[in-house]
Symmetry: C3
Subunit: 680 residues, 3 copies
């Protein structure tokens, strides 16, 4: 890219014409370089079926262009006008309990509806025809946050599409019956015609039916996206994106990522949650990983508070800036917001805007202006930020299939897949390491350490690939809950894990024994049930939670043991040298401190040099990107930097520099200093 | 009125004929002067469509009349017989999720149904025709607790009525689109025909759509009421009421009150809640205020336990009497119960009755009898209770629009409007002041102090009226969350509050920053997130909750500041002299003690003389009505009175008199002593 | 029976043919004597309507027979194939909110559906025709866990059946109106045609309507069962069972038990709950009682973890064995499991199996094998276990009507009927007593002590029978909440309890005053509201919970009083000598220790000799059955036996023998030693 983009969603149709000029003037003043236009404009662009009105949008784009603002132009298909539902009620989505959702909010369409898709395509054709050559056009923005409210539809139209999807996947109903295990509970289907979406049923629905419906639903949304992309590609070479939503469970972004020209993301961490910076860092790392390490765009964040939580904390002074730099540090080439001018009416009027209700004499506006100026100065070849990459030698295996499956209700226990990923990501990044996410079947040769936590569903290819990574010299850490089933949710018999992994790890799993409490409230609130652990690898006695099991060692070193009841003395962490590398197994979720020590031990064994701390005091995140180290203080106290180099933002010498809370420094480094993307 | 009415709902159709004579005899013994008859008699009066049976009711009314018991005669339309739903299934109401509610409990009608209304009118015509001249008739009782179970109906019939209501309100769909802000999220309607009730939708529904549906739903119930009133008025000059339900969110009683000849109320405070007397006092004050200060009727309370809570505490000995006197003190001219004789079957058989399952050898009956005798002795011109008023110089602005809107899900934070009102009411009444509720656009000239807490939705007229009150010499206290939007929920830009209020207060609001916690359970349980406060007006350091904001002072005195994080040092309470009066702004909800001190300071500034305590010890409520001060001890310890005067109940001298827990005294005062309605 | 049966559900259709031979071999190795076959085989047996395939089942049964394994053959009707719903969508059940439940889990049929019943009968005819003479057949297993997911259906078909059931019960709609108390809330029905199932309604539905729908729903399931039984009986003399589910609220097993040839039960206590052994003992006692004391079968338990809780604890080593012996001790003649071979796919693949995923080199399999061997050695005339009975002189009255009614939402307070039963059962069994459950109208002459806790619904016959038991010399203890209504839920006026009980007890109830808290969360979590109690019978001051009331003593001894607020000094426990016996009343639920002392006092008064402790240390359950005392240590510490005799399992002398945690001994006793079934 040519700059670090800066901007936000711009919805001029909410405002009278006279504000549009002020918008452009203030955008210029604020350093805005790009505006996302038209996301919710369908009803304005096509107020009646087939009756189009583009004049206003012409004026908007021309005005932006005249002001030097580039445009991320939406296809405007995210929220159909009311008339679509009135003409075609069957386009409205239906819940698993049979409730047809109404017009009156947004995204009220069945993703499988050919009627919706056809109307959307027609609109996109008109939009592309009119604006493909517009000089302000920088990026196409297809639809918006696919599936954020309606990811699964259970209507008759969806049912027919699901049957077609299944027929394509399985070829014959016999093969489907085998894959779904319908011999159990007398569920065998005599033909595809008998199959419906997994609507409300008397009790636990067939797990593979549920999983396939998750896959289908993600695929149907992707098909909506591709249907629009096809129209655009036919007439335009401008790059295309659609905004992802971080770790969004219903949509498998691994399958989507190859189809976007640049990954973009909407993320709204809770300012009231002290863990937000850590969680958000995981999201940024996923976005970078989805694009194979290429730069991505932060398409939406909030300037201050949102309005859809039960309590909506304002961002603290400096927090918006600090979190913006976190994205840049972790690979973003643009910082955009929802939305430019805070709405006066509608469902998001209390969602903060770059230009607040209170106008420009506000701290929010001043912070917007400040950051805009800084990013302009940080752009360009000298700083070398945009376009650069974040080097990493550590990866975490992550997949939607496992997420969908391990959180199904008939699983061994209640596991949050995301919290489990987070525990590992946080342990590793706390060591100062940059972490990528990968698919378990990907080429892992670039990494020295790969962790596979709770990778519940694993194909033979994945199981083999992980084992081969260790054999080839990598350090593989397998967490509990991994490779318990194949892609059809058929249990891997004889000790789970699958043969190549069992061999590499030198262990097999005899039985699950998750810590449990009689009182279900122990899950929702209070203390979760825990299990005692002991081992030098943890630094001594500690506890674990979520999961535990009877691990049988065939040929491995036991690094830690359970210390409780029936499990007392059984292995909790094992390690085995395999081929040129090593394979570790961790049979529970150790407490954060203990997990950190375990991660450190594994990283050292992998030959990864752990960076020295870049600061004393504060709560500092440090990430290397290109020729800079981004240092951000998320803590409540000052941090004092220990780095050599110069701060690109202030020109000050880094060493001894004080970073206040929410403070940021971008330290210019000598070329090729160290190999890990992060330090701290 | 000619007496303090005493009685209850009387449902003789549940009992064999032989109990009816005993009923009248025991009513006489218990001092009962009025009985509400026929509330749930439709199925008995019209067992088949158009087939009427009034003979039994003739006998009941004649028997009551012979026994000297007056009758509050219900129109019997509250619960249609099963045959109505079977003949006209479309009269059954439908939930927002599309569930059509069945026969089998009560109130199963769509308020917009012309079929229901027509059948109800036909029944009322017959009832009025037959009993308008009956000598026992004292009052007409229209329907029952309108909307208590079915306030909003989402069926097709309601949809059509809603569209008609919208067309009448907005004239054109363009105007509706403007008012609802449908430019956001692509919601623009091409015609009224496209609009439905706000049924279940993918996400947050349009806020103005929701608010208008609340208004419409209240209006439809009012139309049901007026449809019956019209029939009665045509044939009878006997006064008409319908029983309100205190602060009942779905029904805007301000709009209803002009249409009842006397306000009446059903209230069931929880005997297990130590705050019940304080909450109930707020309800009594609302009832008095709805009638413009005129006497009202306590139409329903329970003699002891109810049966619809998860746990149903019995009233403690004396508690029913003490709470009854609270109503009289605060303007009630009658004390009635649900119900006379405790049912033997059905859904309310474990709801206590004046005549319990156990008969007359019970403490409940003895307390009923005692109170009946006392109220008879307290009636009449000498005591001067019935018909008299409760003087007040303090008012709290209250409106249903604000209640509906501020509790919508897309608001800045989770606010309980009622709890916020209560905090202020309790702070003021704890100073011994009588408090009225008013609409913000009402004539406020009778008051010295007006508080507007969380008055979220404010018309220009309201904003102007409040500012004018301060300018004219009043003391105006504006609480957080006030005048954020106009009546269409359009944000008042440029700092909220609206120009006249901003000017009067000398402040504007830059940004909301409600205290928040990452853990949502902090709202449901545990401690709510709080914010530090400091200021002499609070008596020093304290905390606030619910709300906080960045207040910008243009010209005002800062009386207290926030002491926390980003808000540290920002104003929390301001005051400005304006015109002949003053205007205060309070940007959070201070803790009760601190709010009490703030209220005291404002009251003193308003020139209100705070009454001296009427008692030492106990937990005493004291209210002046007419020529008496009612003193009630809600505490667990004795109170000793410090008042001069004589107790009308016992004839004892007030000074030094001991009031035990639940004790009551009605102290006769010299004429024109003090001006406030309450003291304590 | 000829042996203590040992086995489990066997679902060979989930596995390839080659595993079947291994299954038989491993069953033999594990000591398995019986297999339940075909429970979920409908879709396999009749893959298309009227197209049957029995060849595979022939082979399975022949193989089992050849291996010496007996067969409990299911009628396979528990889960219809998908085609039934596609051909006859009206067979799918409907919830009270109108949601029609789909195919995809199991049990998706309306119990009233004649179409379902007819298809089921046709299948049973074929199964019986084919296998009635099969030499492996030991038992018929009708359907499976009737009602476990769909107990109440609200569809139109069910509605018609409900109307027919009501017409049969009441004869005329007038009688129904009287019984249901429809005079209240204007609910009178003009004809049966107007009545529907109690679907979602605006508020509390008619309580008798609800209760009759519970009765109807249980009866409809029973009709399904009997419809199959009729087919079997016509062609086979092999005994018939269907598996009950312990205290399963929707089904009245008292009405079912006469129709099964042997009672069988599915029970899954939570291994994570330390109270599970005590709760499970109550279930075992019910099963024995349903069969009038005859031996029963534990038809299903889990070898280790289940998979349907939020957290699924594994059974501790030895726990499965210990709990199995608990069933044998309390009357079981067979120990069976779900399921033989742990599934590889489907909704229960993480439910443990006798043969786990890990195969035979697992502790689960070793424990299965061990127990199989032991039970073989314990079978036969010498040990005298199978076929023998558990003598008892104590009974607890229990009925589904009371369970259904007291937990309805419009009851005096929130009561768990089962927890109340459990409190009494646990108090009595902790004294070492064997306890039966009885219907209150049964012949009670075999018992010395009968407890009637919360027997809310009581017919005149029941009330009279309980009083007569006391008059005849028994000790009757009546708990709160008893005989408040008759069978129509009409309140027993004049003090509840009904005349004969009031007379026998010498008390009447003036008013309920359950302990209550303003905060509803006090019920869900935290401490439940309590009431103070005092009395020597409790060993002094203590507390009670759930319920309290104003008890009026006419002629009785007060053994304990309430000590709180309004109830202070009122009787909490009374006792009256009546006829040749005595009658006690207990007006609250005392804390466990206090209830234990009260139970001990009542047992002693009843002339029951309390057994001496059989062990010191541990947490020992001891039950006499036939000529043995079964001793089980559920605690975490060793227990040392104090019994004379010899352990049938080890041949060791009992006295001084150490029982480790989960340890079991079966002590052979001299004939006719003591009369109570349990000691401890």
């Amino acid at each position: 890219m040519v700059t670090i983009w800066y901007g936000g969603d711009y919805n001029p149709e909410q405002w009278p014409r006279e504000t549009w000029d002020e918008d452009v003037r203030l955008m210029q003043r604020g350093g805005i370089s790009i505006a996302t236009v038209g996301v919710f404009s369908w009803a304005r662009l096509e107020p009646r079926p087939g009756e189009y009105d583009f004049a206003w949008l012409d004026e908007v784009l021309d005005g932006l262009h005249a002001g030097g603002i580039r445009v991320d132009l939406a296809t405007a298909t995210a929220s159909p006008p009311p008339w679509l539902a009135r003409l075609h009620p069957e386009t409205l989505p239906v819940t698993e309990h049979g409730v047809r959702l109404e017009v009156g909010s947004r995204q009220q369409y069945c993703p499988s509806s050919p009627v919706y898709r056809e109307h959307a395509r027609r609109l996109v054709e008109r939009v592309v025809e009119r604006y493909a050559q517009h000089p302000a056009l920088e990026l196409w923005h297809v639809n918006n946050e696919y599936g954020c409210h309606v990811s699964h539809c259970y209507c008759e139209v969806s049912a027919a599409a699901f049957r077609a999807w299944l027929a394509a996947r399985y070829g014959s109903v016999e093969e489907l019956n085998r894959a779904w295990g319908t011999a159990f509970w007398s569920q065998a289907y005599a033909s595809f015609d008998e199959i419906e979406p997994p609507r409300a049923a008397p009790t636990f629905r067939n797990p593979t039916h549920l999983l396939d419906f998750d896959r289908f639903s993600s695929d149907e949304l992707l098909a909506c996206y591709l249907s629009e992309v096809e129209v655009i590609r036919a007439a335009s070479r401008v790059p295309i994106t659609t905004n992802f939503m971080g770790f969004f469970k219903p949509v498998d972004y691994w399958k989507w990522a190859p189809h976007v020209d640049i990954v973009s993301d909407d993320t709204y961490p809770d300012p009231a949650d002290p863990l937000s910076p850590a969680y958000a860092s995981m999201v940024r790392d996923l976005m970078r990983s989805l694009g194979g390490g290429a730069p991505w765009l932060l398409m939406e964040q909030s300037p201050s508070a949102v309005n859809w939580r039960a309590q909506n904390a304002a961002k603290a002074p400096g927090q918006m800036r600090a979190w913006s730099y976190q994205s840049v540090a972790r690979g973003a080439d643009g910082i955009l917001f929802f939305q430019w001018r805070q709405s006066k009416a509608g469902s998001e009027k209390f969602h903060s805007g770059m230009l607040p209700h209170g106008g420009t004499d506000t701290r929010v506006w001043r912070e917007i202006e400040q950051l805009g100026g800084e990013l302009q100065r940080l752009s360009g070849p000298e700083a070398g930020v945009e376009g650069s990459r974040v080097p990493s030698s550590v990866a975490i295996a992550f997949d939607w299939d496992s997420w969908w499956a391990i959180e199904q209700p008939a699983s061994p226990t209640t596991v949050s897949y995301l919290e489990t990923l987070f525990a590992w990501h946080h342990a590793l990044t706390s060591l100062g390491l940059a972490v990528d996410f990968v698919r378990a079947e990907a080429d892992l040769s670039a990494y020295r350490l790969v962790v596979a936590p709770a990778h519940f569903v694993a194909t033979d290819a994945q199981v083999g690939n992980l084992a081969a990574f260790a054999d080839a010299g990598g350090t593989l850490v397998v967490g509990f809950g991994t490779a318990i089933t194949d892609e059809h949710l058929h249990v891997r018999l004889g000790g789970y894990l699958g043969e190549p992994l069992r061999r590499a790890l030198g262990v097999w799993i005899e039985e699950f024994a998750p810590p449990a409490a009689a009182d279900l409230r122990a899950i929702g609130g209070g203390a979760a049930p825990a299990v005692a652990l002991d081992g030098e690898v943890f630094g001594g006695a500690t506890t674990g939670s979520v999961w535990a099991e009877f691990v049988r060692v065939e040929e491995a070193e036991t690094l830690a043991t359970f210390g409780d009841g029936a499990l007392a003395g059984w292995p909790a962490v094992t390690r085995r040298a395999t081929g040129h590398g090593s394979a570790w197994y961790v049979a529970t979720l150790p407490d954060p401190g203990a997990l950190g020590r375990l991660a450190e031990r594994a990283a050292r064994e992998a030959g990864i040099e752990l960076p020295s701390p870049v600061a004393s005091g504060g709560q500092v995140e440090a990430v290397r990107r290109g020729g800079s180290v981004f240092v951000i203080n998320h803590g409540a106290d000052d941090a004092v930097l220990r780095l050599d180099g110069t701060d690109r933002l202030t020109g000050a010498a880094a060493s001894g520099m004080t970073l206040p809370p929410q403070g940021v420094a971008v330290i210019a480094l000598p070329v090729s200093d160290g190999e890990n993307g992060a330090s701290g």
